[in-house]
Amino acid sequence: MKRIATRVTALALSLLLLLGALPAPVRADEAAEAASYRAGVFQRYEDYTYGANNDFSLRNTANYAYCAWADDIESRSGAEKAILWATHKLLGKELNTDAYINYLTKILAMQERGFTETLSAQAEYTAKANAVQQAIQLGSVSFSAVLDMGVLEKAAKTLKSLGAGIDLFKSASATVSNVSQALVLLHFSESYEQKLALLEAIRDNTDDKALKEAAEALIGTATLEFSYFVEQFAQNAFGDYASFTLNLNGAYDFSELLEMAATELADKFEPWAKFVLTGGEDMAVARLAALPKAALYGVGKFAAAASYIKAGFSIGGAVMALFFADDVELFREMKAMDVTGNALSAALEQLSDTIDNSDGDEKYAAIRDLVAAGQGLCYVRLRGEYCAVESIRGKAAAPDNLDEIFGRTTDLLNRCHNALARIFPEGERQVIVTVDEENTAEAAAETSIARIQVYVSDNPETGEKITASEALTTLYADAATDRDNAIAQGRRYASGYPYDYTLKLFDAYATSGALSLQFMASAYLGGAHPMSSRFTYTFDLETGALLTLADLIDDENAQAKDSLINAFTQALRSEMPDLPDPAGNIRSVFDGTQTQTYWYFTRDGLAITFPPYAIAAYGAGYITALVPYNALYGLVDAAWLPLDRSSQSFPAACSFYPQTEAISCGDYTNFYGTESAFGVSADGDALDVIAGEGYTSAYSTYRNNVLFYANFLTASDFVWLPEIEAQTYIIEHIQKVDLQSEGTPLATLYTVENGSFLEETVQLTQ
C-alpha cells in the first residue's frame, strides 16, 4: 500500500505546510503523538515477525536459484577442476572493490525509490519527536535542532576520515523557518540513515575484503551526499526552492521530491564532491588516498544511478532491464549478490536480537536498520535472481518455466518488501465485506437471505462487532420471519408463479471512517408485483457503532448542520421540484425517526434516499438527494469523508479465478469469504472493488446485488464469491492511472460455463 502511505504523507505535508505558513496554536502534544506512533511501529514489527513468515522467506536461500547456484559452485571439489578453474577465472577477476561499489549503488538506488513511504513516515516521526512544529511556531530553529545530533556527529567523523574540506556543523547552524522545510531536511537525513544502515550491515557482516571496502567507500559517498544537501539547503541554493516546497502541497508526493533530488545529484553533486575532496585545483583526484578515491568513485555511480531513480521503477519487472549486463557479468553479479546477501542475512539475525532486547529509541533505531537491511536484501535477492534467469535464457539447459520461476520469486520478494514497508507508515484501513447466501427452493416458494461478514484490517474486533450488530441481527431475524411466512403462504396459495422472498446486500461503500450498507428486501406474495423495501446502515469503523446523521456534523462549524440540511434540500428540490416541503423532509432525517436509516455514503457523496410513499406517491419510486463530497468539506467532519486520493494511482486490474487456479497458482496471503468455486483477486492495488450477480439483456446490463465489496484490494488478497444460480458475475472497480484523475469505473461480466467462464467488458446501465 505504498501509494496510500504516500498519499497520507502528501496530505500530512500539505497540512503541515499550511500550518507552517499560517499562524496556528502551538501544539504541545507532538511528543505524545511521536510516542504513540513509535508504539505502532513496535506493534507492526511484532506483526511482521510473527505474521506470515516473510522474514524466513526472505532469508531462506532455498527460495532463490542464484543462491542454489552459488552454493553449488562453492561446494565443488577438486575433482571438478575445470568448473573450479572457470569459476575462479571468470568470477574472481574484477570482483573487486569497484565492482562491488557498482552493484551496491544499484541496490541503493532501487532501495531509495522503494523506501519512499518509509522515509516519509520516519521524517514525520523525527519531526514530532524533536517537537519541530512547536519549536518553529515559537521562531526559526537551526538545522541542528531539527536533525539528530548523533547523525551529524557521525557524518562529521566520516567527513574527517575522508579529508573533505567541509564543516557540516557550520551548515547545520543555518535556520529553517517552516515545517515543510524541516521535513525536507529530515527526509534527506532519514535517507542518509537508511543508507548507512544498509551499508554498515554489509560492512560489519562480511568477510569479503572487497565488499567490505566497497561498503566503507559508499558510507563515505552517502555522507558526502548528505553533506551536499545540508550545505545546499543552508545556502538556500536550491534555486527553485519555492516550487520545491510548493510541490509538496498535495499535488505531488515524495517520489517527485526524490526525482528533484536526483536531478540535483546528477547535475551538481559530482563536481561538488570532487571539489571538497581535492580542495579545488590543489590536488588531482588521482592523488587521493584509497578511501576518498573510492568514495569519489561512488559519487559518480550515485549520480549515474540517479537517472534510474528519475526513470522510476518498482520491484521486479522492468527495473532489471535498466541495468544491462553481459553474460559474464551476470554470473559475476550472481556471485556478488550471494556474498552480499549472506552479509545482510547475518545482519538481520543480529538486528532481530537487538530489537528483542531493547526498548525506546534504541529499539526504534534497530527496527529502522532492520527494515533498511531487509529491503536491501529484497533488492539483492531480486537482482541475483534476475541474473540467474538471464544467464540461462535461450540456452539448452533453460527450464521451460523460467519466467514462471522468476515470477514466483518476484511475487515472493514483493510480499517480503511490502511486509517490511508496512512497519513504518501507518497503513490505510482496508474494509472488506463478504456475503453468504442462505437459499431455499421448492415449487411453491423460493427464498434467499444474504448475511454479511465485515473485515476491518486495523481493527478486527470492529469488523466482528458490525457483523454481529443488533441492527443486522434484527434485520436477519425479521427477514427469517418474512421468509418463513412467504414459504407458508406459498405452500397454501401459490399457483403458477412461486412466491418468493429475498434479502440482498444492495450496495456498500466505505469512507475513511464509516461503512455504509444498503440491504433490499423483496417479497412476492401473489398479486400484480412484488413489494420491496430498503434498509440502510452506516457504521463507525473505529467503534462499530451505528451512526446517525448528526454524528457526522463538523463540530468546529456552528452552521454545519443547517448548511448540510440546505445542501440536501437543494439536491432534493432539483430531483423532485414539486415537493411541497423538501426542507422538512430532509430535517426529518436529521431529527426524526429515520436518523439511522435513509442516509448513506456512496462513491459520489452523501445520499438520502426516501422510499416510495415516504414523501411522494408510490409511482415516484425511490427518491434520492445526493450532496457530492466536494460540497461536504467543512460541513461533515473530515474523519468520515473518503481519503483524498489525488496523489495515488490504482492501475491494477481485477481478475476472476476458478478455485483450482487460485489455490495452485496464486501467491495470496489473505483469503476472505467462504471457499467456493470462484473468487476475485487484483494484480496490484485496486480501488473500490465490488462484485455481484450480473444481469444482462439486449437493453441493459447491471449488477443485481453485492456479493463482496472492498474499499481496496492488494495483490495479496483473494476473495471467494458465493455460488449463485444465475452463474453470471459482474466485477467492478475503479482504475485510476493518472494521479489527478478521479479514475474510471471498469466492469467485467463473467459467465460460468462447465467449470470455466467467458469474460466480457461491459458498460453498466445507470
Binding site: 577442476k81 569459476t87 554470473f331 542475512s345 527450464p399
Partner: protein, 173 residues
C-alpha cells in the same frame, strides 16, 4: 666512472631478477604468453571519449581458442592434478592443437586504457603496448567464452523454490 659501474651492476641485477621472475611465473601464464603471441593485431585505433577516458579499439585475427579449449577440455580434466594443473594442461593441449592451424577467428575488441594506466595520455601509448593490450584482451575474451560455456552448465536447471511459508528456519542463512 664508479657511478656508471654501479648503474651497470644494477641493470644486470634487474635483468637477472626479471629472468628469475619469468622463470617462476606459473606454467599456465607462460603458456598463455605463447598463445597470445599467435594473435595478430590487424588494426587499432586510440580515442578519448567525452569522459576523458582513453579507449583502444582493435581488430585481431587468432586461432579459435575457445573452440580448441572445448575440444581439449576432457583430456585436460582427465590428466590434471588440480585446478592450476588444469590450466597448464589445457593451454598446452590448445597450443599443440593450434600449432599449425590457420587463424580462423577475427575479433573486434575494445580496451579501456585509462583503466590500465589512468595517468597516461593517449599519445603516450607505444605501438608495442597497444599490441600487447589488444592481444591480452583478445585472449581474455576467448578464455571468457570458454569459461562461460562451462559455467552455463552449472545453472541449477531443475531448481524448484521451497515454499516460502515453510515453518522451519533450519536452512535459513
Amino acid at each position: 666512472m664508479f657511478k656508471s659501474k654501479r648503474w651497470l651492476a644494477l641493470a644486470v641485477l634487474l635483468s637477472l631478477a626479471v629472468a628469475v621472475l619469468a622463470g617462476c611465473a606459473a606454467p599456465g601464464e607462460r603458456l598463455a604468453v605463447k598463445l597470445k603471441a599467435k594473435i595478430a593485431v590487424e588494426s587499432c585505433t586510440v580515442e578519448s571519449d567525452d569522459a576523458q577516458r582513453t579507449q583502444l579499439t582493435a581488430t585481431v585475427s587468432l586461432p579459435d581458442y575457445s573452440a580448441y579449449m572445448l575440444d581439449c577440455l576432457a583430456e585436460a580434466e582427465r590428466t590434471a592434478k588440480d585446478e592450476n594443473d588444469f590450466e597448464e594442461k589445457l593451454y598446452a593441449l590448445v597450443l599443440d592443437a593450434a600449432a599449425d592451424a590457420p587463424d580462423s577467428a577475427t575479433r573486434e575488441i575494445a580496451v579501456d586504457l585509462t583503466a590500465l594506466d589512468d595517468g597516461k595520455a593517449p599519445e603516450d601509448w607505444t605501438e608495442t603496448e597497444l599490441d600487447a593490450a589488444a592481444r591480452d584482451a583478445a585472449f581474455d575474451a576467448e578464455v571468457e567464452e570458454f569459461c562461460l560455456a562451462l559455467l552455463t552448465e552449472t545453472y541449477p536447471a531443475d531448481f524448484t523454490p521451497e515454499d516460502g511459508a515453510a515453518e522451519s528456519e533450519a536452512s535459513a542463512e
